[in-house]
Amino acid sequence: MIYALIFIPAAAAVLSLMIQNDRIRRALIVGTAAVHTLLVLTAWQTGAAPRCSGWLVLDQPALLFLTITSILFSACSIYAAGYLAGESGRTIRDFKEGLFFRNAPEAVFSACLLAFLATMTLTALSQHLALLWVAMEATTLASAPLIYFHRHHRSLEAAWKYLLICSVGIALALLGTFFIGIAVSHTSVEDKSLVLSNLIQQGSRLNLTWLKAAMLLTLVGYGTKMGLAPLHTWLPDAHSESPSVISALLSGALLNCAFLGILRIVQVCRAAGLEDFYRPLLILFGLLSMGWAAVFILGQGDFKRMLAYSSVEHVGILALGIGIGTGAVFGSMLHAVNHSLTKAMLFLAAGNILGAFKTKTISQVSGVLERLPWTGILWLAGFLAITGMPPFGLFLSEFAIAKAMIEQGRFGIAAAFLGVLTLIFAGMASAFLKMAQGSVAPETAEMSHRESFTHVLPPLALGVLTLLLGLYVPPAVNRLLHEAAAAFGGF
Amino acid sequence: MLILGKLINLLLCLAAAPLLGGIINRTKAFFAGRKGPSVFQPYYDLFKLFQKGAVYSQTAGWVFRAGPVIGLASAAAAALLMPLGGLPAVLAFEGDLIVFVYLFALLRFFLVISALDTGSSFEGMGAAREVTFSALAEPAFLLGLAAVAKYTGHTSLSQIFSSLDITDWPAAGPTLVLVGISTGIVFLSENCRIPVDDPNTHLELTMIHEVMVLDNGGPDFGMILYTAALKLWLLGAVLAGILVPVHTGNVWLDTTAALLFLALLAVLVGVVESSMARLRLLHVPSLLIGAAALSIVALMLVCGGLL
């Protein structure tokens, strides 16, 4: 089962490089995604046996994050199929500067997309910290060409920044992993491997100084990938310049994978009794990210960048939830699910808007509801969802986190949390409402654009899921969330 | 006896109210060195007006026609609540002083909208002034009444005035004087008397009240004049209740005292109108706010433990 989860997308990636026919290749993407999702759903029923001497284990957190990734990828694969059909290899005129550019070969794009899935799956499943790190690095490498799909200088800049910043970050994470290795070298036991269960078992015997340094390094390292401020700087560029479907995957799935990376280290630290050490750090990064995002969301002029900063905000919330501990950890888990669904939905809707209006500038878009009714509804719903309005799921998770803060008597943090959320709400509301409502500007009104099935269905499905999660959390999901939270110091 | 007293009170009010206007005019004539009209002239005027036909503006609708009727009805309803001297009010219940004040608001409301119904700029002007001044007069009046109510511990006009006694004067003198002055100002303002308004001039620009009824004629105007007379009487009666709380035990004696006070009040108004000039319009609000301030001081004297 575990091998299948990893190798099927990997094999499909290789296969897609060989296939000549565009249609078959697109079908392959969708098919692989469907098979992957099916496998994950089966794993819900049956579970999966550990493989590779405990290096690959499908524990509760892995199942949770894998499910998010898989569902998201399925939605995005359908969208991508439609997207690729519309972007076929001709020269395209850049709407921003009027330059001409071509897209990367579709085969490369497809292969990278599938490899991306394979590496993300590997990230979720790895229990060995070094393997985890390798997987994480592989996701960077697989996704960099995806960001550079449109071959023009802005996306190149974005890809370059992504590559360099994430590589630096991931290098630090490697150093952190080494430090854990050093920390475990102090122990008197024989088994000095970096397998998570082993580390947790020997938690109390680890060298604390090195473990602390390791925590810092991995936090900074994976934090870079996850998008915690001030390490997040690649994120707005990459999200705004890559194709929307890739932005959706980056924001919805990749950030979670990096989050899982941090969570694995958190597990080790918890076992070593370092809770008081890492929790303030996570709170600090969380609040900093939220504040930073707020600064850039207020008065933001580019809607895809706005969504990207919103991702910075939400990873901040995720970190904050873990930092607060107790009930907030559960909130954080729920938040990860909801944020992924919502943000992916928003990016896909943003892609539709981009396609119809040919601009990413907020001030040039108005009347989406009129021009693209479905997208307009999704855009508004997504806005309400992402800002934590009921009845969408994010409300519940943010409520849970705020609840834990207040119950712990951390009023300052709670006030900052809610205050920044309100600021962000104000910033996003002014942009989203302006775009969705109003009438279509006359100069863009003639351009015809029909909303196709593949462009509406995936975000719609994701939106419906967040809505449902806001009104009803199925008991099985609830149980899984609680079990995952229990692994990270919550309940 | 009680019912008889009530009936006499009501009839007295309805019948004698125009007389006060006659007395005022007579006094003013005296000071001007004229012989002046008879004190019963208002009755003749009313009679004449009720005999006449009417001219209506083409602009005006039923609101214009309803205004005088509802105004008179509300003044008459207010008369039901007002005791005079030893004579009881027709209706008395806790809190009737609030109803009393608000019935005048009803009167004012319809007077104002019927003025606006003509579409005349002059009447609009009068209406605007009326609502502005009354907005200030109303708190002064209610707070003054509140002071008296707090002092006596009653909230019904009848009970307040029957429990006030001349013997209260040594103790509550300052309060009663303050409330008296404040209510007096409200009395002058509400009845469009100098120094707030000048019923004599017919320069429309300077007027408040009179200008609102420029377009009325015939029975409607008669009703308006009669309403004004009732208002004068009723507010005078409030002043009488506060300033001359004579309770000898003899109903007729008490009532006579009150009636004498009313006549005196009319003379006084005449004297004021003969000897004073009208205030500048912009200074009227200060006067009314001053009245409210006096009421507040009175209230403080009563409740604030300063008494």
Binding site: L156, L164, S167, F296 | -
Partner: protein
């Protein structure tokens, strides 16, 4: 034994200082290559009982990569883009060296705070590794050319590898494998990126790569 390790580590420190002070890109590439070779040798001297077979293999691989493949790759790029030296860096070469000494002090302090387990002998290994990492960071931050930044990244990786080498006794192969994979892929992809940058912008000043902001 220890003296050999110390020698390598001191060479590491000196080469870092050289990288901070050199302006010619070609020279920088060569220094970095030498650094790589030195690091490749490091694990062989760290192990008391003499190097095992797999260690020899990985050392050879590493030396091959760092000493030959990357320098070659970068030189090709260098020739392609026809740039000889870094002109007008953000921070001048004199100041860079001054920063270098500060980094050295900080690294020594960090080394004192993070003592290695007794089995790992050399006291210099932690400070010199930290110093290498800091130098790598500094190169990325203070220089403008994309090529120098790739170089800085390689130096950073060298520093990390120094730690890895210290661990090679206790930890399985995977770490080394990971390093190699990472190095190879990262350098490869970045090399390609530099090509693209050159083609797209007709220079590799990252100065111009700041169109995406706020």
């Amino acid at each position: 034994m220890n003296s050999a390790v110390d020698l390598i580590l001191i060479f590491l420190i000196l080469s870092n200082l050289a990288l901070l002070g050199l302006s010619r890109l070609g020279a920088c590439i060569r220094v970095a290559a030498l650094q790589g070779v030195a690091l490749g040798l490091l694990p062989l001297f760290l192990v008391e009982s003499g190097p095992a077979a797999h260690q020899l293999f990985f050392s050879a691989l590493l030396i091959g990569l760092k000493g030959i493949v990357f320098p070659w790759l970068l030189t090709v790029v260098l020739r392609e883009i026809q740039v000889q030296r870094e002109i007008e860096p953000f921070i001048g070469y004199g100041s860079s060296l001054a920063f270098g000494t500060v980094f050295l002090i900080v690294s020594l302090w960090l080394g004192s705070r993070l003592p290695l387990p007794a089995s790992m002998q050399s006291g210099l290994i932690v400070p010199s590794a930290f110093f290498t990492i800091m130098s790598g960071f500094f190169l990325i931050i203070a220089r403008k050319k994309a090529l120098t930044q790739v170089l800085g990244y390689l130096v950073l990786e060298n520093g990390i590898y120094a730690f890895g080498a210290a661990l090679s006794e206790n930890q399985p192969v995977l770490i080394e494998l990971g390093i190699l994979l990472d190095l190879f892929a990262a350098a490869f992809v970045m090399g390609i990126a530099v090509f693209h940058i050159n083609r797209e912008f007709e220079h590799i000043d990252t100065d111009k790569l700041s169109g995406l902001r706020t």
